[in-house]
Symmetry: C2
């Protein structure tokens, strides 16, 4: 049973939105400042699951989060996609002319830079989170300050939206993992996606050989990411996601790759959220 | 001839260090706040080349920079690796007990978090750059403030190093690209590495087929990164780096992949900096 979920950020953050959308029932939320704290909370048994962003369509993979899952032997038990839309919000009754400063996460500011070119009187200031600024504006009753955050954050902290979807690239899909200490126990016939990691040499064809096995076993590749292994020149770790129709096909590929590849590891077996 | 080089950050930044190490002669430097500005400067002809970080061994690919190079039709004409080491620096005559706040780039702060656990009296504050803080400490004669930046920054701004290599993961290699508007003109027999981009379907085996061609043509893969193509479900772009002994082998692979893959594009042909 999942009762308590650790998220990066405060309520109203995109990690919180994932928790609300993924689980049928609302969960108790542990708000963490960093992903390290999220993982610490999970390892200490303070929560039953954690939510971690894995990649987005603009910036690509969030490798440090893959490393956290990998290094601590955690398991991805589900995935969820959110179309991250940034909105400008302020205390009720204020107009854009009244806003002197807008605080948000550096990535959010970067994505919304174009919008603010029309408003040169507004100073953009980097902050550690998106929703937390919304919370601060409400709690400290900050006039003249704007936050860039989710609609959910505006709702929770009772702020007015001055402008919706102000990011330059309108489609900004982010993929989140639901992570647990132990593997999930969903029935085999419901598993149709897996995240795996293996190592291979720089040697000609070594990756192609492994991908051929996957192809022969009817696995579809939905993501691949190489990462040089620190202190081991010419050796690479590959983070790969595959989808499949039959779990038995995946197990067959696994048994072959375990022989051919090195350090084969399953980071998670779960249900594909994109069908 | 390359006379002027645009970098992200100020002098003393790691991009500046790349310029100093890659080129035989010192270049005029254009300091830019963002990578967008770096590219604008290059496109406007204000500089002859630009330096852009592409990936590092901790965080992986810097996808937005790949996108900038790809979208603006720029060319990678060289690569350079720097082992990024973070150092704590202050105005001369101060000890760690005197330091109240340390400012740096969020990524640098994250990488040095462990070190500062020993010094709970120091507040860590996010800033937009590493070397720029060093510059500010010097110009505004800021007592009690520390910067986390390169040894080069300490040298340029005449600051004292209180602690060297304070990041948790000691090996932090970052790969930089030297980028121009036009392709380089180095002789074919000196070209032994290329960065390419192509698209392929989610379809079983479509990537493996292309990697097989590369393997057959004696290309070694040193990096692969998939990126979902926005608004085109199940279609992926792949950013791939290959090394080879003979340029003719690369051209042979290119002509086959151009037929099989979609939107094949060479982002750069250059000399492998890692041998």
């Amino acid at each position: 049973m999942i009762n308590t979920v650790a998220i990066q950020g405060v309520k109203g953050s995109f990690h919180h939105i994932v928790s609300e959308q993924f689980f049928e029932q609302p969960k108790d939320i542990i708000e963490c400042e960093t992903f390290d704290e999220v993982v610490d909370s999970l390892l200490a048994g303070q929560c039953d699951a954690a939510i971690m962003a894995l990649e987005n369509s603009i910036a690509g993979s969030i490798i440090p989060n893959y490393a956290l899952i990998d290094n601590h032997g955690l398991h991805i038990v589900g995935e969820h996609y959110v179309d991250v839309q940034h909105n400008l919000m302020v205390l009720p009754g204020q107009e854009i002319e009244n806003i002197k400063e807008v605080y948000s996460h550096p990535m959010a500011l970067l994505q919304c830079k174009e919008f603010f070119k029309k408003y040169p009187h507004i100073k953009l200031v980097e902050d550690k989170d998106t929703a937390e600024v919304a919370q601060r504006i409400r709690e400290q009753n900050l006039q003249g300050i704007g936050a860039i955050a989710s609609l959910k954050a505006a709702e929770i902290f009772n702020l007015d939206i001055l402008a919706k979807s102000i990011q330059t690239i309108k489609s900004n899909e982010t993929r989140f993992a639901i992570v647990k200490r132990k593997n999930s126990e969903i029935p085999e016939n419901e598993i149709n996606k897996a995240s795996i990691k293996f190592e291979a040499d720089h040697k000609r064809g070594s990756l192609a050989t492994i991908l051929n096995v996957m192809s022969d076993c009817k696995l579809n590749l939905t993501k691949i990411q190489s990462l040089p292994i620190i202190d081991t020149p010419w050796k690479y770790a590959f983070f790969v996601d595959v989808t499949f129709a039959a779990y038995a096909d995946f197990k067959k590929a696994q048994s072959v790759i375990e022989i051919m590849g090195q350090s084969f590891k399953i980071l998670g077996e779960y249900k594909n959220a994109k069908l």
